[in-house]
Structures are given as C-alpha cells and as structure tokens.
C-alpha cells in the first residue's frame, strides 16, 4: 500500500510543479501603464548594506547605492562627474578656506521637517565627532577644530548664519572642498534622526529623489523598496515609479536573473560572462572606464627598494609589465591600461603627463634598469605581490608575476591572503613583508582624491609610507589655488614626480560592466559606476 501512496504523491508533486510553471514566468513586478511608465518600478542589483543607513556611516557600495537615492546633497555629479548644485543655491569662497553655503528655501524631508542649514551642520557635526566612530569621519578632518584625539561635539568651523545659510571654515585652504560635497558623508539629516539614530538607520528619512516604501521597506538580506519622493523637485527628479534593489550574494545570481528576465538594470558582470555579455545583450550593455584604478605598492622598507637602487628597480618592474596583454587576455578588455595615477573620467585628466613612458611595456629597457640596480647591490630572494584570495585577484597577480619572471629573470609570485580582513590588517599594521596590491575608487571626482590621501606624507591611505617633501608642498599649493584648472596643473606636477618615484605602480583603470533588460531605456552609468536610476524609463 505504501508504494502506491508514494506513487500518488509523485503524481501530485508533478501536478503541483506544472501549476507553478504557469505562475512563475511573470517575472518582475509590473505596472499597468504604457511605454515609459511613470509608475514602473525599476529592479536592480545591490547587496545587503554593511551598516545602518546613516550617510556618515555608509562607505560601501551596498549601502551607498541606497543613501545616494534617498538623500539629496548640496551638489550632485552628472554623468561625467562634473558637480552641479542640488540642494545648494550657491557655494562661494574668496580664499578656498572659508565657504559660504546658501541652500534653496522651502525644502523638506519626506517626514515634513524642513531642510535647513542646521540639517547639514548637525549631520556633519555628528559624523565628525570621535565618540560616534563614524566610518566616514575622515571626510570632515579638513574642517577647523576637527580632532582625532578628543571628542568635539560641535566643530567651531561650522557656523549657522540663518535658516538657509551656513559657513564652513577649513583649517587650511582646500580648493576641491566644493567638489567633495556630493559625497554621501555630506548629506543632511532631519532633526528627528538624532532622537534614535539606530532606529533611523533602519528606516531613514531623506530628502532625495526616492524614499523608502513605508516602514520596514528594508527587508534584510532580501531587498529594499524605494518609491519616488513626490516632494523632491531638484535636478534628479525620477521619471520612473521607484527602485527595487535586490540583494545578491554572488554576481552570478544577479546575472542569471537578468538573463531570466527578473532584473532590469545590472551594474556588475561575473568573470565567467565577461567575454560574452556584450554580444548576449547587444546594444544593452556597457563597458566604460570609471573612477577607479588598480595599482600595486612596493614599500620602501623592503630590502633593495630604497634610494637610487629602489627607483631603478621600481621603474624596471613597471616597464616589465605588458598591461595591454593582461587587460585583453585576463580581463577580456574590461579594464583599460593606466597612463597615470588617477582615472580617465576626472576633470583635468591627461594621458600625456611627462614621465608616463614608465608605464609602457619595454622588456629590454626593464632588464637594463634591473641590471643597473644590480650593479649597486645584487638582487637576491624572490619578489612577491600580496593579495586577498577572496576577491578574484589571483589570475592577474599571477599574470603580472609571470611577466616579471620572464622579462626580468627573477623569481616572482603572488602571495595570497585568505580573506580581505587578514590582507588589509597586514598592510595597516605594516607586518606585510612583500609588495601588495592596492586600489583606489574615487569618493568624489577630483584628481586630488587620487593623490593626497595616498601619496601625501602620513596620509591615511599611504600604505607604502611614501614621503617626498616636494610632493607635499605641491599638493598644498594645489589645494590653496582658488582656480580649479590652476590647482589641477599643480596636481599634474605631483604626478610627474610620482612617475620618477613610483610609490605605487599603476596597472589599469577599472571599467564598469553592466547590462540591462529590454524593458528599460535611457540607462546610463555614472562616473562612479552606479547607474543613473532617476532617468531610467521602463515600459511594460
């Protein structure tokens, strides 16, 4: 009898399966409107935010994709990374040190509270205070009174003049300060947020083009639903009905969903599909450079890499790498060989800075330089590049090591660390005894962001402990300029020195790789690789 029952169960199961077939092909949430519907919800990929959704504590892509959509800052960046006023009416300065910021009147948060000067000043003070330990606190370090050693609840450099005006006084001139103001850390917060910031981070209230679709719109580990904020009337006004950001644990799953018609806009392509996605989504894919660069750093403290010998060896290493070949073969053309230390999307970028030849592939020249260095002190040991094994860096590190081996005749290899945390810890506490991979993705679109924080003496991310007084003074001079072009000229002079010293060896610029479904139109990817969701239209 039991067997028969099992047979019945199998049949019932097959029937149940057949039923679900008809029910599960409808795909993404749909709207009833016609082409370019203003109520259509765009589905896109994201990842579970690592932190509560508070702008000053959001520094990774999963969270910032959301905070960028629900908060409007003083300025926004257009598709080329050029800043334009959003909430700000005007940002003025005479000396690049004191800024007077006026904001547009009658702006509101989605809970009805006004967006005024205090919304910014209070949010920034909170973000800067040491006791609050915000991940983005270092963005406020230039403001007068900022301290890493004691808790400063109210920065003396921030002053509210009236409801719509406040002034910012910096400790020293910084010409690119206005450029930074579009970054997540500088968003405003409503006064009610400070009653209970943890609860606020779960259900944030903003002033941006989108807002949360009610309490509990953030379904942890699954998705977050955003709808259009009807009160937002700025330049980023959304033409669709909202955003549904689905959290994926793997790139493969998000790509399969795009293929299966369950996803509209994707901004990442898994390694296995890099060679095929452009033909599979013909006319609906993107492969363009954005503001990020991959480098590797050889700290001066390693034997053979200091002084004149070090410079020769670094130049030899750089010339021994065929960037073109690696970007073509390993990355299927989805990276672009680097010509400087910054990124090609930035204002003031040039690929002809004097000294850039050191990034060209020249195996004979490399071998000669290496031999010259050997004449100073003969090379011994092996050359290793450290990397984290959980980030897909293995193939290119091995390729670079192989080229060094072949072109310089030395023993070279990758040195993997199992996890990112272990790798970064070894770099931060300086226990790493090899070269290591480094990378930078812009916080805001400016040359200085790629230079000051990495190559200034004692700068936060100066992992190789590089120090050159000439570089420091040129960086300061650039910041003191009031004219951006003049400032960029100084920064390019910094790069000329960097080409001589090679505190990091530039490899290639990151590209954004993405694709979208047939249902959506007008998809563009911004300077920082995030799609400009507000302008995407969707038909049904």
């Amino acid at each position: 009898m039991k067997i028969k029952r099992i047979g019945v169960a199998a049949i019932a199961l097959a029937a149940a399966g057949a039923l679900t077939l008809s029910g599960c092909t409808s795909g993404a949430p749909s709207s009833t409107e016609g082409a370019g519907s203003s109520t259509a919800i765009i589905t896109t990929n994201g990842s579970e935010p690592q932190n509560p959704l508070i702008p000053t504590n959001t520094n990774e892509t999963g969270g910032s994709k959301i905070t960028e959509s629900i908060f409007a800052g003083l300025v926004y960046y257009d598709v080329d990374g050029a800043p334009h006023n959003d909430v700000a009416e005007s940002i003025e300065t005479d000396d690049s040190q004191t800024y007077t910021i006026k904001i547009k009147p009658d702006q509101k948060f989605t809970n009805g509270e006004p967006v005024d000067a205090n919304s910014f000043v209070d949010a920034w003070n909170y973000g800067a205070a040491l006791d609050n330990a915000q991940l983005n606190s270092y963005f406020f370090e230039g403001i007068e009174g900022f301290s890493y050693d004691e808790n400063v609840p109210e920065l003396p450099g921030l002053e509210v003049v009236d409801d719509t005006t406040f002034t910012v006084t910096l400790a020293q001139p910084e010409s690119d300060f206005p450029l930074r103001l579009g970054y997540t850390a500088f968003k405003p917060l409503p006064a009610s947020a400070f009653d209970d910031l943890e609860a606020f981070g779960e259900n944030p209230v903003g002033n941006g083009p989108y807002m949360l679709d009610g309490e509990g719109a953030w379904k942890h580990n699954e998705k977050i639903d955003l709808v259009v904020n009807p009160d937002y009337d700025g330049p980023l006004k959304a033409v669709n009905g909202g955003l549904s950001i689905i959290f994926y644990a793997t790139q493969e799953a998000s790509y399969a969903d795009l293929q299966g018609g369950n996803l509209d806009v994707l901004d990442q392509i898994p390694a296995g599909a890099l060679s095929t996605y452009q033909s599979e989504f013909e006319g609906r894919s993107v492969n363009q450079a954005f503001s990020g660069i991959q480098t590797f750093t050889v700290p001066e403290r390693l034997p053979h890499f200091s002084g004149e010998e070090g410079k020769l060896r670094l130049a030899a290493l750089s010339k021994a790498i065929d960037r073109e070949e690696i970007t073509d073969v390993i990355f299927e053309g989805t990276r672009s060989p680097a010509h400087d230390f910054t990124a090609p999307t930035l204002d003031g970028y040039s690929e002809d800075i004097p000294g850039t030849e050191v990034l060209e592939f020249d195996p004979e020249g490399a071998a000669e330089l290496w031999a010259e260095a050997d004449a100073i002190s003969p090379w011994s040991g092996s050359f290793q590049i450290g990397y984290n094994a959980d980030g897909g860096h293995g193939p290119w590190v091995d390729a670079v090591a192989n080229q060094l081996k072949n072109n310089l005749g030395i023993d070279a290899s990758g040195a993997p660390y199992p996890t990112f945390a272990e790798f970064r810890t070894a770099i931060t506490d300086r226990t790493i005894q090899t070269a290591f991979r480094t990378g930078w993705q812009a916080d805001y679109p400016a040359l200085y962001n790629f230079l000051g924080p990495i190559y200034g003496t004692g700068a936060g991310s100066n992992d190789g402990d590089y120090s050159n007084p000439e570089v420091d003074s040129l960086l300061d001079e650039g910041l003191a300029e009031t004219d951006l072009d003049a400032a960029n000229e100084k920064f390019q002079q910094v790069q000329e020195i960097l080409f001589q010293d090679l505190p990091a060896i530039p490899l290639w610029y990151y590209n954004v790789n993405g694709a979208w479904s047939e249902l959506v139109d007008n998809v563009q990817y911004g300077w920082n690789s995030v799609p400009l969701y507000y302008q995407v239209t969707k038909s049904e």
């Binding site: 330990a133 580990n221 299966g260 070894a426 770099i427």
Partner: protein, 309 residues
Amino acid sequence: MAGYIVRRVLQAIPVLLGTTFLIYFMVFAMPGDPIVALFGDKTPPPQVIEALRERYHLDQPFIVQYFIFLGNIFRGDLGVSFSGQPVSEVLASTFPVTLRLAALAIFFEMVAGITVGLISGLRKGGIFDASALVVSLILISLPIFVVAFVAQYIFGIQLGWFRTTVGIGAPMQDLILPALVLATISFAQISRLTRASVIDTEGQDFVRTAASKGLSRNRIVPVHILRNSLIPVVTYLAVDFGTLMVGATVTEGIFNVPGVGRTLYQAIIRGEGPTVVAFVTVMVLIYLVVNLLVDLLYAVLDPRIRYAK
C-alpha cells in the same frame, strides 16, 4: 521513554556550551581585523579603529568577550549585526527559509531514492538496476555547483520553467529547483543504500516465512521488506537533513536563497562574530534535536529497539 528523552536533553546542555565556546574562540582567532576590512582599500585613522573596537567589545580579551556574549544570551540578547539588525531577527528570517528548502530537498530525495532503490533491489541485476547504478554514479561524481549552474541555465534561463533565482519571501515554487539540485546528490546515496538494504532483507528468514505463509507480494514488500530496510536509510536522511540545514551555502548562493548558508557565509566574510556564533549554536541545536528524533524513530521502525527504563 520520557526518562530517556529528558536524559538526552540534559546531555545536550554541555554540548551546546562547549560548541559556543569553541566557535567563539575560532571566530576570535580568525586572522585579520574585521574593523579594518570595513574600510575597503582605504586605511582609516587609528583613533576611529579604536573607537569602533570599543563599540563591538573587540578591545577586550577573548574570555571577557565570551562571557559578555554568554551573559547576553541568557538575557535573550544574541547581539546585533554590523548593519544594526538584531541577530535574533536574522535567525528568525533565515532559518524558516532554509528549513523549507531542506524539507523539500529531503522529500524529493526520499521519494525518488527509496523508490528507485526498492525497485533496483527487488530486480537485482536487471536493466533498471544497471541504469540506476550508472545514473547514481554520474550524479555522485558531479560537483553540486555544476548541477546548480546547469539546472539554472536550462530550466531557468532557456526553458523559463522556473524563476532563475529565488524571489522575495522565498515562495515554495521558487524553491523547487534548488531543492531538486540539492536532492540529486543524496538521491544517489539513498537509492544505493536502499537497494543494498532491500537485498539484504529479502534474503532473511522472516521474509521467506511470510512468503510460504501465502502472504501476497503486495503485503510482503511494503510491510516486511521495505519497513525493515529503512533503518540505515532513516539514519542517512537525518544526517543529510542536518547537512542541508548548515551546508547549502553553494546552492543558496547560486539561487540567491535568503537562507542560513548564504547569510552565514556573508557573516564569516565580514567577520561578524555574534552572527556567526548565534547561527552555529542554532545549527548545533538542530543537529541534536534531529539525532534525538532519529533515535526515537528507530523504535517505531524496529520494535526490538526499546528505550525502556
């Protein structure tokens, strides 16, 4: 019987304490500083790192951290993930999903595995038996991610029979495909196990007696052969259920199932101690309960086994 259960439950307490201690120690000993990793490729100022360490009690020595954790558990507080969600909520939202996935997979592999194994065993050496052997061997030798990707590509993308990944709320119809994938591996084991066990039982005296008593084949096979062949199979199913509850990481990742495996993997990568420890503790608990149930089930299947006293 009741006494036996009480004894088993009491035994579980030191096991639980021991495992939380071990897991906590392992998470603590994991190389690398999760706080540093929070900043990506950028290097944070040391003072900010210190302040964050203090917030998550990471500046305390291991044993102090462990007792803070243990004390909080007794107050029902499992801690908070980096994203500010109470770990108890994470547990409550992920375990039911994995439980449903595991139950579905067990159901598939049990129905298919026992049916195939029984037929193979009864017609030992026949064409069905030979082909079942070949299929089982192929399935056993395939890594699960290959099965998962191929199934996703064919049934999800090409044929469109199933959604490519599991949708919001993990509805049952979306879980069918990942459950089938999970079931393929164990199906092979179960059918082989059932087959061997059936052949063994069929040669037993009591089966011959039943046949010579004139009982029909329809009664002998389910009542005398199958029931007595199921003991090793049930043990295997229970172990497999435990494995599915904790080890579906790969499949959950490929089908984006918001379940235990995927969440735990992310927590390990991010170094979220409280989440990892809480998850593993619950997994140990499940393992203990499932094993107890299996032991009780033996008595039902085989009247000779009794937990008297």
